[in-house]
Symmetry: C3
Subunit: 356 residues, 3 copies
């Protein structure tokens, strides 16, 4: 297994982020698309830019229209796909290496108010751990001793709840019930022995409808001491869903700025869905089914299969995909208005690229 899941998500072949040509090379539509890209060397443009250009192409009154409304729509859709994966400032979910202090893995998290680029040119107000939305991924082993040091550099109080971990009550992170709020300028330290494995989350539990919506959340993944055979995989992807003021996002980005998942033909991959939003998101993968192995970090009694998995707020679902079908596969929320408009795809859309 590739140990660093987030890097896989961005950089499957350890040679830098996949670029648009790589992406389309694996597509059934690749030949056409790549030549189109060759003729149009402004890959960073998103659908919005294409829409502007289409508008410019609209003829003045009295002239014969050179481009129909249908053609304009197709151009906007095409521009969105061509722009993918679009570069934006900032990457969320980067693995956070701990400092080790006498056997304790120490993670430092600093909460700040920032601007975050969700899609090309779309900068939103955010709250972030270590400047990332979602915050950095913490990945530990069952039984590890862990210290999380939270420093609040925001203008309002906060606290961290470790969602899914079965911790002593005083580490539960709920202001006025288990601890005082961590006020602006203050530092608060959590420390515990990691009790249960699985895909968990950490997030604010103070003014949380706002703070989690704006980005104070991250993956807290606990590898088991004794992995089951079904969870021995080639690649391991964390897939955090969010909605609200940042729009519809996967790992903090909206299409075309979402990162593709890339694997090689024949590989077995794991996807860890985590919903930190306010709505359900039924995730649909094209081409291959998913086998559900864990719910909220707990193994299901018997794995089951589907192609559309309904992920509700606060839930985590871990699935296995056997990458048996080469190509570029659409991968999106099946609430269609979360994924496509008349201007093309946006929001909760990415692809799984299965390379031959």
């Amino acid at each position: 297994m590739t140990s660093n899941s987030r890097a896989d998500f961005q950089d499957p072949s350890t040679k830098g982020p996949i670029d648009r040509r790589d992406f389309l090379r694996h597509s059934a539509y690749g030949a056409v698309a790549v030549s189109a890209l060759a003729a149009c060397n402004n890959g960073g443009d998103a659908a919005a830019a294409a829409a502007t250009k289409s508008a410019l192409a609209t003829p003045a009154a009295g002239q014969v229209p050179s481009v129909s409304k249908s053609e304009q729509m197709d151009q906007m859709h095409e521009a969105g796909i061509k722009a993918f994966p679009a570069k934006t400032e900032g990457t969320g979910c980067l693995p956070l290496a701990p400092r080790v202090d006498r056997g304790v893995k120490v993670y430092e998290l600093e909460a700040t108010e920032i601007k975050w680029e969700v899609a090309p040119g779309q900068r939103v107000t955010a709250m972030a751990y270590n400047g990332q939305v979602p915050g950095p991924e913490i990945r530990v082993k069952e039984g590890d001793r862990v210290r999380v040091v939270l420093t609040n550099k925001m203008s309002e109080s906060t606290a961290i709840h470790f969602h899914g971990l079965e911790l002593p009550n005083d580490q539960d992170g709920v202001p006025f019930i288990t601890q005082p709020p961590v006020k602006p300028g203050e530092t608060f330290t959590y420390e515990f022995t990691v009790p249960n494995s699985g895909s968990h989350m950490y997030h604010s539990h103070h003014n949380a409808a706002k703070q989690v919506g704006l980005g104070l959340l991250g993956a807290f993944i606990v590898e088991p001491k004794n992995p089951r055979p079904i969870e021995r995989v080639d690649r391991d992807f964390t897939f955090i869903l969010n909605d609200g003021l940042h729009g519809y996002t996967f790992n903090g980005k909206s299409f075309p700025a979402t990162a593709p998942l890339v694997a090689k033909l024949g590989e077995k991959i794991r996807i860890r869905y985590m919903n930190e939003g306010m709505m359900i998101h039924p995730m649909h993968l094209h081409g291959m089914h998913m086998t559900i192995i864990d719910k909220d970090g707990w193994p299901v009694p018997a794995p089951w299969k589907c192609d559309t998995l309904n992920v509700a707020p606060g839930e985590r679902w871990d699935v296995i995909v056997n990458c048996t079908m080469p190509g570029t596969w659409a991968f999106h929320c099946h609430i269609l208005p979360h994924a496509e408009s008349e201007h093309g795809m946006f929001g909760m859309v990415t692809v799984l690229v299965v390379e031959k």
Copy 2:
């Protein structure tokens, strides 16, 4: 098993659609209701018409009211039930017989813009395959060679995605990723060997939030080579949920224009739920439980029972009902505002009639 599921839904006894008297004859309330119908021979009226009559019955100022507000409400509710199943123009989900071309089953689909009568007198703008909303039902066998010929007679581009089928990438139907869009006036041909059995769907994957919402969707059912004993049934119903601009619909119609499901006492039936909308719809059957056998066309590890099944967008759930309880059973979405208002039942309501 009756081979043609859709005909069952409309015509259980092969003598034409069930009429209002048939429907109420099997009801515990039948005696009262049928005599009421006899006195009121305008069965095609829906609740709306009743509301108008009630309004006419409202006394002028200063007069003693002859009908209370509560009575008026009851009259509207009763009129809705009496109107069921109401006739409307057009029927969706009709079985589509293939043309066979040297061993290949060929299905022709023509996408057009039409008006569709969702409920009596309520005509909405729609996009339709072969003039139906949902499109015609395609039913094949695992391993069949299938050709789907799509002709676009609409004013915007489109494409078909076979949701749930594990097809080669170039048959996946996503414009600019796996194929060019099918432009107005163009024809595009899909051809593949059907790989996996179960309840699947076909629908537009271009401007899909609009096109699927307006009707470019249908059932694609793949019968297995070796059916399991649990799926040997007497009747087989396809049950497509949609919401959006057409309102809340079952197989393209709103109550009282929805079709009842009709079975005989002691029969075993299968219901294939498919959600093509934007919202969850927890489907509640009165009187008898449902046994879940398949999720997205994949057998569940162990069948499980419920009376309310949450169906999310893009999901399919197959259930078995053993018709052990005679009578007319309400069958509806349990998000109550999808099924009833102060004017009576509407939207996502039908009945299961179990005939003695």
Copy 3:
């Protein structure tokens, strides 16, 4: 097992409702919180009152602010927690003792229009059985003969559907399909032998989007003749979710007026979720996982574990929690805007107190 589940919910130690000091004594933050309470002997105040006080503390223009905006927010959050569990008029879900008439358990339900105090000082228009929202809990045994006598003292018609019970059609409670509506002033009697065990519900099935939303609903719990070992528990809690015009409620109350669940360390408890609202509510328990044993009153084929359970309208889910972790554990809907605002926690929030 303590036989009366609802009393547990209110009164775990049979010495009257838990008060604020009891609640906080079990909290990791108890010491601080209790002393704060000692200084502030007006425990009945809710967050709203605190907000007013904070506003009073706001300095006049030109003065140096003595309390920052962040401090004001924290004060409001703290006041909400301190106010919990807040007293309000009326308690729903109280156990209803039957009158026994020649072996038949007779339950009398009177539907009336009332005002209901959802949270301190927040009185809403309601429809209620026996003056309670939710209505009184009916708890019988599999095979019992039961009579439910409904008297309608409201200004509109109504009827009762026993959601989940597999009754003869004429007891199904759907006006104009299985019975006439029960008009204002009328009485209607249901009588049946209880066929299937589990967590069920009774509620209006006439103008139900309004009537159920306003409170005409209750738990109908059927104890099995032969309980499985997994359902032999120390405490048994009914947990009814609702939304709509009354806001986000658990058993008819919003935080801080919700009732805490209280158990002792080492006890095994059962929670019966029932959603009578219009939205999903993914219920998240802190500190300990839940083991799902029943869906809609039917045993699941194999119990499974989670910490966040998505409960859809009309569904019931029964779960077991082994109370292994002492303390006061937040317990809430994980759609965060159903549970917290900038003014603090509200709506779908309570706690599980595990007493040492």
